[in-house]
């Protein structure tokens, strides 16, 4: 939107905060319920792929993105089969 010098924009914060301590406890083979207990419900509703949960996080302050991370968990049935994270 407009590029006024110094326009104050409210910080745009989206998605789940996943702490490092929680990430360590995440392993292959956990059930969906265990993942949900550990990391909480994924904020991003993803019904187009029911075998994949996405825990993504973005924080934008003004035009600058100060935080951006993504944790994608693939399920084989009810069990975690793959974990991709960019951290």
């Amino acid at each position: 939107c407009s590029q006024f010098p110094g326009v104050y924009q409210i910080p745009v914060e989206q998605g789940n905060q996943v702490e490092a301590s929680q990430l360590e406890q995440l392993q292959i083979g956990m059930t969906r319920a265990q993942v949900r207990f550990l990391l909480g419900t994924p904020a991003f509703i993803n019904r187009l792929q029911n075998d994949r949960w996405i825990y993504l996080r973005t924080v934008k302050v003004g035009e600058k993105t100060t935080e951006s991370s993504k944790l994608s968990i693939r399920f084989d049935g009810d069990v975690v089969s793959a974990i991709e994270t960019d951290r």
Binding site: S2, F4, V12, F44, R47, L48, Q49, I54, T58, K70
Partner: protein
């Protein structure tokens, strides 16, 4: 003591007839007072049931939707198996539907359904219950039409909020609102906008696979809104984000086309919505074509044996 009983019944019938007289003359205030008196003084008399029905009708014609709804609830509670139960439920739905026309939207053109949706939600539940519980009722056809109209408005309201969050750059919020429409309002035309928003948001979140999947679903049902190219599906031209025009840059985005997505999306949905007018405006004018209770006029039977 029987004469006293008959005289008493006589005054009950008289009172009821005067009430019906007021109804016919569309003097709703007097009709409501008379009907309420019949109902309260002779709660078990033959006219009680009819007066409760007429009360629902009169309040609605008077434009007092909450009281009409309350009267309908009371009637349904007292006479759950009544042959006119479908009528009471239909009027209850109508009352909420009419209340959905909030003050502003009654006199304002265009889609102004982004006010408090609770009465619309109430109307859609009532109409859906009528269609399920009383499939043979004569009011089902009208209820179905209004149900489609109500749900279409609710879906469009979700899209309007999704567009706001696209403008704000809150991609998870926008995608979630779009998913609500895709899951709950699959038959409404707002699904087109929802799939587009889902594609835009997924792309912004770096989820190209999700974007393609949304556009693929859209291409399956409404191909005219998707560009299918060799590298997969793409947004329609009007939605491709463009660089802000020179005037926009010069005027810090105050004049000229800033090329931002929110505005494009709003224009797109507005244009698409214009050519899918669903209901003839006439049926939506409040409290006009409300039909009378089927068995409302003649005396009923004593109710306590």
């Amino acid at each position: 003591c029987s004469t006293l009983k008959n005289a008493n019944r006589q005054s009950e019938a008289e009172l009821y007839q005067t009430a019906i007289g007021h109804v016919d003359a569309a003097r709703w205030d007097q009709a409501i007072d008379a009907l309420e008196e019949v109902d309260s003084r002779f709660p078990f008399g033959p006219y009680a049931r009819n007066s409760q029905l007429w009360l629902i009708y009169s309040y609605l014609k008077q434009g007092n939707e909450p009281l009409s709804r309350a009267a309908a609830d009371r009637f349904l509670r007292l006479n759950p198996e009544d042959q006119d139960a479908d009528y009471a439920l239909y009027l209850k739905g109508l009352a909420s539907f009419q209340e959905g026309f909030t003050v502003v939207s009654r006199y304002l053109p265009g889609n102004n359904y982004n006010r408090d949706p609770s009465s619309l939600l109430q109307a859609s539940t009532d109409f859906r219950r009528l269609i399920q519980d009383y499939p043979t009722s004569p009011y089902v056809t009208d209820s179905r039409l209004r149900l489609i109209y109500t749900r279409q408005r609710l879906a469009e309201r979700e899209i309007e909020v999704a567009t706001f969050y696209v403008d704000r750059g809150a991609w998870v919020a926008a995608a979630n609102r779009a998913s609500v429409v895709i899951d709950n309002f699959p038959s409404s035309s707002a699904v087109i906008d929802a799939l587009l928003v889902k594609a835009i948001a997924s792309k912004a979140l770096g989820e190209d696979e999700l974007e393609q999947r949304a556009l693929a679903t859209l291409a399956l049902n409404y191909p005219q809104y998707v560009v299918t190219g060799p590298a997969g599906y793409a947004l329609p031209a009007q939605l491709e984000p463009t660089a802000p025009s020179l005037t926009a840059k010069m005027s810090f985005g105050l004049f000229g086309d800033q090329g931002d997505l929110g505005e494009k999306l709003a224009l797109f949905t507005e244009a698409r919505r214009a050519n899918t007018a669903l209901l003839p405006q006439q049926t939506l004018i409040p409290n006009t074509n409300v039909n009378e209770p089927r068995s409302g006029r003649n005396a009923g039977t004593e109710t306590f044996f």
